[in-house]
């Protein structure tokens, strides 16, 4: 996706290198809108922190120069506690962009300028983009950019990024700044006088040991702030000097409060002249909406209502479209391919029809559902509602060591696990994100619910409804249990602090939503065209060779080999093979069972055959396993894409395999113990 401006090498411009401009800003400031405007690229614009989780870059031209724009993740400060913060400061220090364009939200200028105070401690040149001036004006906040500019000693450019206003001026200011090596003399925040002496002492002590490219004065300041990363970096390098440095740091353990307080005092001075604030105490529209939207009772009802509409849309529009695509794209495509490939060897025709088209095509039929989910999600995000949903759900999610932000991704899982795993991008803590991704497959998706709804009446007749509810509840109990174990055991240790900005409500910007929707769908399609293609072909081969039928295939043989394991759960090998083929798509369970039991050959339906083959305890065990089993390949591929780790993907498989089989065994053996047959 990144295009490092190759067109810089056209005739006559060889001598001028590409100018690097990094976009920096807190979350919810419209930074990604600025990036989209400058580069014309679709990319996430988020009202919800942590969306831009890796730097994206694009190129543009300004004043005859080729400029590379790097969009850095939104971050409130340049501390070390969050991954985004570390990433931004490492980028600024190591890559040394020519100019940093800091985008700030004019409605929350005081908090936003904190990042400026931190940037000014680094050897970078800054221009300030003042976004959402119009919204601020509506709240009675009057800002005079020229006065602010004079106070700060920086270029200040007013922006209205959602309408593309001021963006060109911002980049021009950046190019001008880069062209003047000596014209940059910003007003920098000063540290309290007693700390200044300490800081000088620290600088003197550490100067010979600070590795390039870290600036010595910045490293000293970060040590004094108690910055964990810099302390861990310098501790081994300082050697004999460490005790002296450590003693100073212990004496000033509270320094961060004084330093942060000092920065806010400086911000107050900078803002005094150029900004007129309305008298505090007046109720904004956001506060009025929040009285209802974040109320423990009304807020919950609103959330339930919104989710109800989302699922109604999915069933009313998404599912019929999915069925239509299945018939007209996958099934018709398979038949068409078989007809076209009549002259080709039979295995090739089979491969194309039943391997590639059936596998990749099935995954593509998920597109309408994803489109609906991501459109609604995009609107809610841009509106500013997502933070409220997280807030309302926070206390429930705390039960499993997660916080409110994990709720929405998990809830999406009831529709389809794929958007749920993708939705976990919005959780900024890497550990909480990982736990959310790992437990997501335990949320029963529509496909698994459909299998359950088909099979439960066959085995349980009138009690089917209770069995269905019971198994869904079992999934949620297991999900909570696994969440608690993961949090307490393997991934614990990180304080699950719930600190989240509640952005102002604003009208959704359709251009932004479309860009984010497009990006997510492209990511999904890329996955379908790569990893899912490979897995589809592989699974087709495993279920075809060497014998030609599923009974005589590798998969069938594996199922037969595993029969002793199945017997502990009361299952025969056909059932095990059905579980294995459900990996392509969860609905496969039913056709596989039909083929393996020879349904239709003796005029008997699936119901007749299955009802005779399994006892009720075995049937219950089978349904429980199928509800808790490894997710479909689309979900697993998404897990791999989002965690960027085969290790975590493998762990997810092992975890679900273990949990589902253990539950199956426990149910069957437990039922036998109490004498249920």
């Amino acid at each position: 996706m990144s295009q490092p401006a190759p067109d810089a090498l056209t005739a006559g411009e060889q001598l001028e290198p590409v100018l690097k401009v990094a976009l920096v800003g807190q979350p919810n400031v419209g930074k990604s809108s600025v990036f989209n405007d400058l580069t014309g690229q679709a990319q996430y614009v988020s009202n919800w922190p942590g969306k831009t989780s890796e730097p994206k870059s694009g190129s543009c031209d300004a004043q005859g120069r080729s400029v590379q724009i790097i969009d850095l993740p939104g971050t409130y400060s340049l501390g070390a506690s969050l991954a985004e913060e570390r990433m931004v400061r490492e980028f600024l220090i190591r890559q040394q962009p020519d100019v940093v364009a800091l985008i700030v939200n004019a409605t929350a200028l005081e908090r936003n300028l904190y990042l400026l105070a931190e940037l000014l401690a680094l050897p970078v040149k800054v221009v300030l983009g003042l976004n959402m001036v119009d919204v601020a004006a509506k709240q009675g906040i009057v800002i005079e950019p020229h006065v602010l500019e004079a106070a700060l000693g920086l270029s200040v450019v007013p922006l209205n990024a959602s309408r593309s206003q001021g963006v060109d001026e911002l980049i021009q200011a950046a190019v001008c700044l880069a062209a003047q090596p000596h014209g940059y003399t910003p007003n920098r925040p000063e540290i309290r006088s007693d700390h200044r002496t300490v800081l000088e002492e620290l600088q003197r002590l550490i100067a010979p040991y600070v590795p390039a490219p870290y600036p010595v004065d910045w490293a000293a300041l970060k040590l004094l702030e108690g910055d964990r990363q810099i302390t861990e970096l310098l501790h081994p390098l300082l050697g004999e000097q460490w005790p002296a440095v450590h003693a100073i740091l212990m004496q000033h353990e509270d320094a961060i409060l004084a330093i942060a307080g000092g920065r806010y005092e400086w911000i107050g001075r900078m803002m005094r002249a150029g900004i007129t604030q309305p008298r505090a105490g007046q109720l904004t529209l956001t506060d009025r909406i929040d009285r209802v939207a974040t109320h423990p009772v009304w807020g919950m009802l609103i959330l339930v209502g919104i989710l109800g509409v989302l699922f109604w849309l999915t069933y009313a529009l998404g599912t019929p479209l999915q069925t239509w695509l299945d018939v007209h794209l996958v099934q018709a495509g398979s038949l068409w391919a078989l007809a076209q490939l009549q002259a080709a060897p039979p295995w090739l025709a089979e491969l194309v029809a039943n391997g590639i088209i059936a596998g990749v095509g099935t995954v593509l039929t998920l597109l309408p559902v994803l489109l609906i989910f991501f459109s609604v999600l995009g609107i809610l995000e841009d509106l500013g509602y997502m933070a409220r949903a997280a807030y309302v759900m926070d206390r429930f999610m705390h039960l499993m060591g997660l916080h409110g932000k994990s709720f929405l991704p998990l809830f999406l899982g009831f529709g389809c696990n794929v958007p749920a795993v993708m939705g976990a991008r919005s959780i900024e803590s890497p550990k909480a994100r990982l736990i959310t991704i790992l437990v997501t497959p335990l949320v029963p998706c529509t496909a698994r619910l459909a299998v359950l709804a088909t099979l439960a009446p066959i085995f349980f007749g009138a009690q089917a409804l209770w069995v269905t509810w019971g198994l869904v509840a079992l999934n949620l109990v297991v999900l909570t249990g696994v969440g608690i174990v993961l949090h307490e055991g393997f991934l614990g240790g990180e304080h699950k602090a719930f600190i989240m900005e509640m952005p102002l409500y604003q009208l959704p910007n359709l251009r932004t939503i479309a860009a984010s929707l497009w990006q997510r769908l492209v990511d999904f399609m890329k996955m379908a065209g790569s990893i899912i293609l490979v897995v589809s072909v592989l699974l087709w081969a495993l279920s075809t060779f060497p014998g030609g039928t599923i009974q005589t295939s590798f998969l069938g043989l594996v199922g037969q080999k595993l029969e002793p394991l199945g017997r502990i759960m009361g299952l025969d090998w056909q059932m095990l093979v059905a579980l294995l083929t459900s990996f392509v798509r969860k609905e496969n369970t039913i056709p596989t069972l039909a083929v393996l039991y020879g349904v239709g050959t003796q005029g008997a339906g699936l119901g007749d055959v299955l009802g005779d083959r399994l006892t009720q305890p075995a049937a219950l065990a089978f349904l429980a396993v199928q509800m808790l089993f490894i997710p479909c390949m689309a979900t697993l591929a998404t897990i791999r894409q989002e965690t960027r780790s085969w290790r975590w993907t493998a762990l997810s498989v092992a975890l679900l395999l273990g949990v589902s089989l253990a539950m199956g065994i426990a149910i069957y053996q437990g039922a036998r113990l109490v004498g249920w047959k």
Binding site: Y76, I256, L257, H495
Partner: protein
């Protein structure tokens, strides 16, 4: 509920014993107060301080139902805080 062993190593503004300090979690909604101290582990204090909760900062509670998370207005921005985090921030009431 306060944590069993709060580490009181971050004291910014010296507070006199006579004025009433209380955790932010016990401040009623609609009341404006001034931050006096921030407790807790290094990482948490660092995050909270950067977001504007430094001694001397004015904070107004927008929502506090006595249980669950709360919403505060600090440095011109709205922040949702978990109850556990709000217990680590001590404030003194300025106005009702």
């Amino acid at each position: 509920m306060l944590p069993k062993h709060p580490r009181p190593h971050h004291t910014g503004v010296e507070s006199t014993a006579s004025t009433q300090e209380l955790p932010l979690s016990q401040l009623p909604a609609g009341v404006t107060a001034q931050v006096t101290q921030v407790h807790g582990g290094h990482g948490l204090v660092n995050r909270i301080a950067c977001l504007g909760f430094t001694p001397g900062a004015e904070v107004k509670l927008l929502q506090n139902y006595g249980h669950g998370p709360l919403i505060a207005l600090v440095r011109g921005a709205r922040l949702a805080l978990g109850r556990g985090e709000a217990e680590q921030i001590l404030v003194r009431v300025l106005s009702v």
